[in-house]
C-alpha cells in the first residue's frame, strides 16, 4: 500500500521531484525552473540524450541506494519502455522511487 496522499507522502514525493529536477538540470544544462513533474525523460520530447540519460540513471541508482535505502535497477527492458517506464516523466520517476521506498520501509 502506497500512502502517496498522506501529508508525509506528499512531502517525500515533492522532495523526490525536486531532487530529480536538480539532477536533470545538471546533466542537461536546462533551466531548473523549466522542469516539472510533466517533463519527459525519454522519448522524442525529452531533452535527455544518451549521455545525459545514462548519467541520470546512474545518479538515480546511487541516490536510491544511499538516500532511500532501496535498490533501483535500471537494467530492465521495462525501464526504457515508452508505455510503462518509470522514466516517462519526472513525476512518474519520483512516484516509482517513492513506491520502492514504501515497499522497502513501509
Amino acid at each position: 500500500m502506497v500512502h502517496g496522499n498522506t501529508e508525509m507522502g506528499v512531502v517525500v514525493l515533492d522532495n523526490l521531484v525536486e531532487k530529480i529536477c536538480t539532477v536533470v538540470a545538471e546533466v542537461t544544462g536546462e533551466d531548473r525552473e523549466a522542469l516539472d513533474r510533466q517533463t519527459p525523460l525519454i522519448g522524442p520530447d525529452s531533452a535527455l540524450k544518451s549521455r545525459a540519460l545514462v548519467e541520470l540513471l546512474l545518479a538515480v541508482e546511487d541516490y536510491s541506494a544511499e538516500e532511500l535505502g532501496v535498490r533501483f535497477d535500471s537494467m530492465t527492458d521495462a525501464a526504457m519502455s515508452p508505455i510503462n517506464s518509470p522514466f516517462r516523466s519526472i513525476g512518474t520517476l519520483a512516484k516509482h522511487l517513492y513506491e520502492l521506498h514504501v515497499q522497502a520501509h513501509g
Binding site: S50, V54, M75
Partner: protein, 238 residues
C-alpha cells in the same frame, strides 16, 4: 622483468582482471602488479597463493557478475578492466555439440559483455577508464575448425567497437587485443605444425610471449592512450 619501463606508474589505480587464475590472466595480473597497478582478479573459483586477491565469479552468469561489480562500487582508484577470461574448443562446427557452442558463446562473448557493462557503469561514474577485451588472430584468418570460437570472438570485436562509442561520452576507452597463438592451455591439443604455420603467417613471424602481450595492454592502459578506442590490435600482425 615483464613490466619494465612500459607505462607511467599508476600506484593508485585498480585493475580488474578476469580469467586471473591461469594462463594469460595470471601473466597480465603479475605484470600489472609489477608495474604498480593494484589488481583484483576474477576467476570461477577463489584461488589462494597468488600475490593479488582473486574473487570467485563465473563471468557467464549475469547475476554473479552484477554482484561482483556491485561489491567494487566503493573501491578507490577503479580504472581498468582486462577481460582475459576465455575458453576454446577446436572442433568442426558439424561435430560441435550445442552445449559446447553455448558454453563458448556464454563465457567468451556474454562474459565479456556482462563484465564490460558492469564495469562501464562504475567507470562512467568516475569519468575515465579503460576496458580491454580479447579476441584472436583466428577471427581475421577464419581458421578452419574454430568457427564457433571465431563466431564468439567476432562478436567481441563488434561489441567492443560499438560499446567504445557509447563509453566515449565518459572518457572510457574500449579496445580489443587479438593475439596470435601463445603458449597457454587454450592451444593445448592444436598440432604443432598448425601452430607453426599460423606463427609464420604473422607480420612478425615469431610466437608472442606474455611480455609482448603486456606491452600492448600497458600501452592501451596508459593515460596517453585516451584517443585510442574502438580498435582491434592484432599482436604479431595479420
Amino acid at each position: 622483468m615483464l613490466a619494465s619501463g612500459t607505462v607511467n606508474l599508476p600506484q593508485s589505480r585498480l585493475l580488474v582482471v578476469t580469467g586471473a587464475s591461469r594462463g594469460l590472466g595470471v601473466a597480465l595480473s603479475l605484470a600489472a602488479l609489477e608495474t604498480g597497478y593494484r589488481v583484483i582478479g576474477v576467476a570461477r573459483s577463489a584461488v589462494a597463493g597468488l600475490p593479488y586477491e582473486v574473487r570467485a565469479c563465473d563471468v557467464s552468469d549475469a547475476g554473479q557478475v552484477a554482484k561482483l561489480f556491485r561489491s567494487l562500487h566503493h573501491e578507490s582508484g577503479l580504472y581498468g578492466l582486462i577481460n582475459a577470461a576465455g575458453i576454446a574448443s577446436m572442433n568442426l562446427t558439424l561435430t560441435t555439440p550445442p552445449e559446447t557452442m553455448q558454453r563458448l558463446v556464454a563465457t567468451n562473448l556474454l562474459g565479456t559483455m556482462y563484465c564490460s557493462s558492469a564495469m562501464g557503469r562504475l567507470l562512467a561514474r568516475r569519468g575515465c577508464g579503460r576496458i580491454i577485451n580479447f579476441s584472436s588472430i583466428a577471427v581475421p584468418l577464419g581458421l578452419k575448425g574454430e568457427a564457433v570460437y571465431v563466431g564468439a570472438k567476432s562478436g567481441i570485436e563488434g561489441f567492443s567497437r560499438a560499446f567504445a562509442r557509447e563509453m566515449a561520452d565518459f572518457n572510457v576507452t574500449v579496445n580489443v587485443v587479438a593475439p596470435g597463438p601463445m603458449r597457454t592451455a587454450l592451444i593445448q591439443g592444436v598440432p604443432e605444425p598448425a601452430i607453426e604455420t599460423l606463427v609464420r603467417s604473422q607480420v612478425v613471424p615469431r610466437m608472442a610471449q606474455p611480455e609482448d602481450l603486456w606491452h600492448l595492454v600497458a600501452f592501451l592502459l596508459d593515460e596517453g592512450s585516451s584517443m585510442l578506442s574502438g580498435q582491434v590490435f592484432h599482436l604479431g600482425g595479420v
